[in-house]
Amino acid sequence: MGPGRLFWKLFLGNVLLMALVVVTCVWFISREVEHGQDRELTRTLQVQAAALRAMFDDRFDRQHADQLDQLLKRIGHEQKERIRITLILADGSVLADSEADPESMGSHAGRKEVSEAMHAGWGKDVRLSQTLDGMAKYVAVAVGAADSPGHKPKGVVRVAMPIRTIRDQVGSMQRLIWGSGLLALVAVTILALGLAQLWSRPIRRITLAARGLSRGDLSASVRVGGSDELATLAQSLNEMRMRLAGQLATIDRQRRTLESLLAQLHEGVIVAGPDGRILLINPAAARMLGLPSEPAETIARLHGHAVEECIPRHELQQMLLPRPGRSASRQGSGEADTLREVRLPSEHNGPDRALLARASDIILPSFRQEEEREEGSRPPRPGRLLVLTDVTELTRVIQVKADFAANASHELRTPLSAIRAAVETLQGTDLAQAPQQGRSLIEMIDRHSRRLELLVTDLLELSRLESAPAPFKPAEIRTGDLFSELYQRHAEALTAKTLHWNVNVPAHLDRMIANPHLVRIALNNLVDNAIKFTDPGGRIDITCDEAPATADRPRAVLITVADTGCGIPLDEQDRVFERFYQVERARSGSTARGTGLGLSIVRHAVAAMKGTVELHSEPGKGTTVRIAIPQPPAGTS
């Protein structure tokens, strides 16, 4: 960027001003010099004339005319400067002259300087002189009447000098003066250049910085030295810039906070303006509605689109679009708020998505200033805020709970009604008459009440596992003790079915970290099942093993319970962990019947230890269940 207009203004202004001053000064000086020279000359000629007068006063008459003339001519020749001396008598006739012959000269009485001198004692004139060829200055002094007023003078001494000589002198003087004036002007120009530069530079810097500010560039600060007004201005500008930058940073931080909040939010949030266009939509909302949500920019691309263009479901569109004729005053009164459950078909033939949508009016700051001005005191038209909550999982869980309640009551009712039937029969039976029948009825009651007890115990166990208020604390367990206790507990049943019990624990796994209660529950249920579904003479193998730590999971102890029982059909293997799910007798080939909760309890117990359960089963060959119990890293226990 070249020098600005201000620079030129300052520069030319200064130059003009100073040139004016210099020229005026030079003019005055040269005039003064000319006048001074003129006066000086006059005085010199006067002095000379006076000296000559004194010299010739006593012989100023016709007798001495020749002598005087010779004297004058000598003086005239001796002079370096051309000077002419003339002696004139009172009647105007020339007595003597330094240049010409007095005889040839006419009367000089009419000459201005002579007549003045005759009247006032001295006179002067400037005129063209033939004798001196050129302009000449004449000064005449009266002779013999200086001290006696009223006395007529004897004559006049006139001295003349060609003015050209003086003019030459004055001219060279003036040239000198004008020359130095010009020099001064050049100096002044250079000075003005420097000054203009000096004054305009900080202003230019400030202007540049201010322009940058107005464009939003907050990086450049203005550096202006000194302590004058410009420096203060620059400092104020810097402060303004700093404050602006600070405010912008704050706004940016707040915006980013809000953005990351919206991005992290599990609820979908959509805001539509009063014109029915999307102002804001967060990734969760885009995901829920099946809109492209990856990468993040695609979401930003939805902004400004009409609601109808990108939001699926008519219901949701209606919730987002402002309804005509509704004013903002009712905002928040609940009337404008709507809550709806919307079912969205999934893209990939999966289960439908259930969304809880809540819409409400939202007063938005108007983005356009003219809009604000136009609206005046009228309340701005509200936009719409839609909050979506994905309740698919919740709906499913509610369904599962409802199913569970239905199943549980059904399962509990079966033994209860059997007991009631037995009791009713017993009441109508004479025990003395039919003791056999009574005994079988009592056995039936006993069997069903045991089953009821089992069911209630299992259900309590399950609900305890599910809603444990505090996590189960792990402790060190001696594996040897654990398995011998397990054997003690089932020894009776094992012997009754003549099953082989085989425990295989490597020596280095003599202890493990887990919650004893949970491990016991899981193993008891597994062994229970193994005994229940294995025919007499079969085997139950319990193996302890270890899975080394990998990148995504810690070291784990693996406990495998394998039996040689009837197994589980392949298509039902996934479902056996569901509550009350039991493989049909006809398919399992087993007569045994559990509560249907065993494996469900195992799964919950292992999950409470953050472990995993795997089930492998081959119908007719047997079932293997392996539970993995993660161990805390060595040293922390």
Partner: protein
Amino acid sequence: MSAHFVELLDLLRRRSLRMASAVEDMLDEACTAALRADHALARRVIARDVEIDAEEVAIEAEVIRLITLFQPMASDMRLLTTVLKVNNDLERVADCAVNIAQRARHIDSPGMAGSAEDVKEIAQGAMRMLRGALKAYAAEDCEAARTLLEEDAVIDAFYGELIRKLAAAASRSPELMTTHLDVFSIAKNLERIADHATNIAEDVIFLHTGEIVRHHLPAAEADPPSQKR
């Protein structure tokens, strides 16, 4: 064109899109009603048809008003004709949905005499097509519309298969004839909806390129008003 016209055009397009999503919802509900034998839902679907009909008439009137008032050219005119044609198709889809809902009121058990799975399949196919066509219409996505054109053949093939199965089932269990006929009617309406979805997709292509892809006419015979813009 004046800013006013552009605004009116945008409002009209959005109105058409609103109607489209309403019809989409209607079809969804009609299918659900048929599959679950939900008579109350079916009645609600039938009741909604009045709104759709009124909206169709209103949109058509608005299209004609805009054409008369502003005499639009080129792409604006194409948009208006597309809105008009899609409008017509949407109304017919809504009628089909009403037909399905009416049949749904006759069905008593959710099983549909063994055809439930097939009906579900064809319903999902038809809905997928309609949704895709309307999405392409909303986004003015020509490519998406083109891919949809091929999908119609799949639905048609599936429909033929379903008819064959129905005929076999009807001869096996003639006592369930009314249900079989209901299933037939529902499937037929769904197939027709898929056709309307294809029409909409073709309209979207026309809107974008001025090319008429209907009836597989070569471009020269179709006399496009203006080639790709």
